[in-house]
């Protein structure tokens, strides 16, 4: 990150965040070591992965689900919970 960081005079007092919803700006996807990859042909659209994802990083589309890689931290809960085992955790960089 090359953005210039604010100094103590310019930052809000006491570390308060004055703008709601700013966590959206923090893309945690780069924490990921393993990436969930969904085999769309086998997905039955049961939405268990969507329910279990602790980061709301499973996106509901019309007939299937997808992963928002900006926020997915690669925890693997979706792959573990998938009843038809159509989600594979693939190591990043492979």
């Amino acid at each position: 990150m090359s953005e210039k960081k604010l100094g103590w005079r310019s930052l809000p007092i006491g570390g308060y965040l004055l703008e709601p919803g700013s966590a959206m700006k923090y893309k945690t996807g780069d924490w990921r070591a393993f990436r969930p990859v969904i085999d769309q042909k086998r997905c039955v659209n049961c939405l268990l992965c969507w329910i279990y994802c602790p980061d709301s990083a499973i996106v509901r589309l019309e007939k299937h689900v997808d992963v928002n890689y900006d926020y997915c931290k690669g925890c693997g809960i979706c792959a573990n919970e998938c009843p038809v085992k159509c989600i594979t955790m693939v190591e990043e960089g492979r």
Binding site: K5, G7, W8, L11, I13, G14, G15
Partner: protein
């Protein structure tokens, strides 16, 4: 003619809190503070005070509730002592870090083990780096006066830090003395309702206490360092304004008979009363002794101390809490650091006294004065840290 009441230290603080129109009191009872909040709960029950009293299951929860109420914009008071303050330790830092102008009364008491309920300064000194402004009162009158001023100092937007008003457990908390009190209207004029800088409000959501990683945490702490520095100006202004309504003059420290003093005692709280009485007696015999009593321990009154010391040659610093393993105990370390920083070279030794509420007698203080005079004369210190009255 000022209104005069007979009040113990605990009652004096509670009476001041009532007059300060506090909105929320959350506290847990602990000796020797209990009466402070007991009296407040009576005021609230009787309808003399329009406030919410939150009964909690521990001191940790008491201060947590206070932090929440303070963030919502309320004027908040709590009180504790000893183990209670120790249990609050974690929340003390959160209160100052979130910039909550809470005022807390502390009836200072020794820490266990062994279990002891009597007065010493181990509790507050154990938390002295928690970024709270720390005030020590000598008597119930000072406890009353400082409590009213504490809210005004804490809530000033240049400060926004919590303040503790310390009274020696039992010695002050349970001793009834003559206290001149102000009229309710005068206190209300001096201390208008709190104007919070930022509040938690569902219509304007903010996040409080978010994770703050290495790239921002230090800046947050530096804001607190600056607030502590800035509080010096605010304390000065508040003291002046308070003098104009009460006729009582406060400052960072009280300087007694220091003008041409050769030897001095520096001490906190009620001990200063005895030291002044003994000092007066020695003065009548032509011995040039004086007493310096810091009212404000944090921020430490460096410049005022240097000014008060004048040309004194030797100083005994009295500590009522032990910094185990340290070269000197807390107050003495601060005094020596101040002297070093201001390039002032004079002889200083440290007396640890009164642990677990052990009395310090006029005879003890007389002996300390005599020894300080001797050090002033010879320039030689026999013992850098003395332990007053401890048995072999």
């Amino acid at each position: 003619m000022a209104k005069v009441m007979g009040l113990t230290g605990n009652e004096a603080i509670a009476y001041a809190v009532k007059q300060c129109n506090v909105d929320v009191v959350a506290a847990y009872p602990i000796t020797p503070q209990t009466i402070m909040v007991e009296v407040l709960s009576e005021y609230i029950y009787n309808g003399e005070m329009d406030a919410e009293f939150i009964c909690v299951e521990s001191e940790h929860s008491a201060l947590s509730a206070c932090i929440g109420a303070s963030l919502a914009g309320a004027r908040v008071f709590t009180a504790t002592a000893s183990q209670g303050l120790a249990l609050m330790h974690e929340m003390l830092y959160i209160a100052s870090g979130l910039r909550c102008p809470i005022v807390m009364g502390i009836a200072n008491r020794a820490l266990s083990a062994p279990l002891n309920i009597h007065g010493d300064h181990s509790d507050m000194m154990g938390s002295r780096d928690c970024c709270w402004i720390q005030i020590y009162a000598e008597n119930p009158q000072e406890a009353y006066d400082w409590t009213i001023q504490a809210f005004k100092i804490a809530e000033d937007h240049r400060v926004l830090l919590p303040v503790s008003v310390n009274i020696d457990g039992f010695i002050l908390s349970h001793s009834m003395e003559r206290v001149e009190v102000l009229e309710d209207e005068d206190v209300s004029r001096f201390l208008p309702p709190r104007k919070p800088l930022i509040t938690i409000d569902p219509t304007k959501p903010v996040t409080v206490g978010a994770l703050c990683l290495p790239d921002y945490y230090f800046e947050m702490k530096f804001q607190q360092i600056q607030a502590m520095k800035e509080s010096c100006n605010v304390i000065f202004e508040v003291n002046s304004e308070y003098e104009s309504i009460s006729g009582r003059k406060y400052g960072f420290l009280e300087s007694y008979a220091m003008d041409d003093a050769e030897a001095a005692i520096i001490c906190l709280g009620s001990t200063a009363g005895t030291a002044k009485a003994v000092g007066r007696e020695l003065r009548s015999k032509g011995k040039k002794v004086g007493v310096i009593k810091p009212w404000i321990y944090r921020p430490f009154p460096e410049e005022e101390l240097i000014r008060a010391l004048g040309d004194v040659k030797a100083v005994a610093v009295l500590d009522r809490a032990c910094s185990f393993g340290a070269p000197f105990n807390a107050l003495c370390s601060d005094v020596i650091a101040t002297l070093y920083r201001h390039g002032k070279d004079l002889r200083v030794f440290n007396c640890l006294y009164g642990l677990g509420g052990r009395d310090i007698t006029p005879a003890d203080l007389k002996a300390i004065f005599e020894e300080t005079l001797e050090v002033a004369k010879t320039g030689k210190i026999k013992e850098y840290v003395k332990y007053i009255g401890v048995r072999e």
